[in-house]
Amino acid sequence: MFDELYQEILMDHYRHPRNAADLSHIPDSRIHENPTCGDAIKIEITSVNEMVTSIQHETYGCAISTASASLMSEYLKGKNVFQVQEEIIKFLKIMRGELPTDNLDTFEDLVCLAGVAKLPVRLKCATLAWHALLDCILHLVSGVTLP
């Protein structure tokens, strides 16, 4: 189980997270947290004409949550906001076991997270960034600014 989870590629994204940034200008009230383990993430996106042009994150967390944020940011960048939502929902369903893990095949390197679907305790680690991004996108779309 450990080897299945902590693959080379995951460890690489953990050690060298892509699209990581100092987001200290974002207020703490916009941190997304997994209170059971203290993992925390801030996310900032930019978009042009309904296309997500950048996804930046500042993640404090375990290897799985950090790598998941990094991999997610690479995979979803450049996609249309609606498509991003669709992908997030699909990813969450796979992780929760509501869709078979072979659906990850189209998620490029994220396939390395397939093992999490067998470990409900780590589910929140793998999905924290995705919930945070979904929130950002929904607020972007609805034009509502976060409190």
């Binding site: 450990f2 404090y60 375990c62």
Partner: protein, 406 residues
């Protein structure tokens, strides 16, 4: 590392817990393993004596009732309560504390009153009081702590005792493993006629408990952390106080007489045991107490201290980890953060080496917030653990560092 000699025949004892052969189980503060004789007492009850208790005029029911009430006497004896009327079976520490919070508040807590707790508490000894405080418009008030997280006994007298109606503190912290100075709280509180509840979830079955010597007013603990079955717990309460509390849950067995729209209530302890109790659970808990007493609680406690000492010595030269509690005298519980490895990752790595530890806030978020760490890793030992398991842990930790280091 040298093997310390132990007065306890640990290798014989481990035969009573076959599950210990499958992994290094260092998550005892979450739940302990159960000896075969406790497990068998459960099967045997179901196979031979299963029936509901009280009021059954048939031999199964009589036997079940006798065993259930014997278990109550066993518990009384184990904590040296004055009478079996002071022993209430619950479903766990959480249930016991909620019972007191709810029934005590109903009778004694009013707007403007306060409840004394600490920031070290397990959520189960904090959230029930928060709920009650918000329902009764009361406030929580906190025991002042020194930098080393021990009670600041000097500052205790300055607490607003005239508003405090009850104090609820833990005996041994489930994160720090230190035995709190409950003696000082109890004596200050009693000086102001304030009753004290002790959360003994981590001390019962680990160190000797004598409620009369302790002079506490309520004591709550779980069976499953002391070799007993899941879904069992005990509330000890001073008879005079229990008598004054209104009932908690309503239902069968806790009544004296029921009319359409009112009821009178049974005597102690039945008044607080509504519905069919977890009969087999109580019996199993009694068996667990027999088991522990046969080994000897003092021997168990000594053994845990010996192991703790070994653990302390085996790990204090590891610079990359920092313990939340720095005192040498912790009672088998070690929580720590690693400079680089996140607790989750560490726990997962150790699991791959068949070592079970815990990672998270261990149901003590306020304490973690106070220490400004989001989560920690926790090793918790019980008397059946061994020095060589601690050696395995140390080796696996070093391997984890090699794996995770950038």
């Amino acid at each position: 590392m040298e093997q310390l000699t132990s007065v306890l025949p640990v290798h014989t004892i481990r035969k009573d817990f076959p599950i210990l052969d499958t992994c290094v189980y260092f998550d005892n503060a979450a739940t302990s393993q159960k000896p075969v004789e406790v497990i068998n007492s459960i099967s045997n009850f179901y196979k031979n004596t299963n029936a509901n208790v009280h009021r059954s005029i048939h031999r199964l029911g009589e036997k079940a009732t006798a065993k259930y009430e014997d278990a109550r006497e066993r518990v009384r004896n184990f904590i040296n309560a004055r009478s079996v009327q002071e022993i209430i079976f619950t479903s766990g520490t959480t249930d016991s504390i909620n019972l007191v919070a709810s029934a005590f508040a109903e009778k004694f807590i009013n707007e403007g009153d306060s409840i004394l707790v600490t920031e070290l508490e397990h959520h189960s000894n904090l959230v029930p009081w928060q709920l009650i405080a918000s329902r009764k418009k009361a406030t929580l008030c906190f025991v002042p702590l020194r930098d080393d997280l021990s009670y600041d006994t000097e500052a205790l007298e300055k607490l607003p005792w005239h508003t405090i109606k009850i104090a609820a503190v833990s005996h041994i912290s489930n994160v720090l493993g230190i035995e709190n100075n409950i003696k000082s709280i109890i004596s200050h509180a009693h000086g102001h006629d304030v009753p004290v509840l002790i959360d003994a979830a981590q001390s019962a079955g680990h160190i000797p408990i004598d409620v009369q010597a302790m002079d506490c007013d309520f004591l709550a603990f779980s069976g499953h952390k002391m070799c007993g079955p899941l879904g069992t717990g005990v509330l000890y309460g001073r008879e005079r106080l229990l008598e004054q509390l209104p009932p908690y849950r309503g239902g069968g067995d806790m009544i004296h007489s029921v009319w359409k729209d009112k009821s009178s209530y049974a005597h102690l302890p039945c008044k607080f045991e509504a519905g069919t109790p977890n009969i087999v659970g109580a019996i199993g808990l009694g068996k667990a107490m027999n088991y522990l007493s046969r080994i000897g609680i003092t021997a168990i406690s000594d053994r845990i201290y010996t192991l703790s000492d070994y653990f302390y010595k085996a790990t204090r030269d590891i610079d990359s980890i920092q313990f939340l509690e720095t005192s040498e005298k912790t009672h088998g519980i070690f929580s720590f953060v690693h400079k680089i490895i996140h607790p989750h990752d560490l726990a997962q790595y150790l699991d791959s080496r068949e070592i079970a530890i815990r990672a998270g806030h261990h149901c003590a978020q306020p304490l973690h917030r106070m220490l400004k760490i989001p989560a920690s890793a926790r090793v918790s030992l019980y008397f059946y653990n061994t020095e060589s398991e601690i050696d395995c842990f140390r080796t696996a930790l070093e391997e984890a560092e090699r794996f995770f280091y950038v």
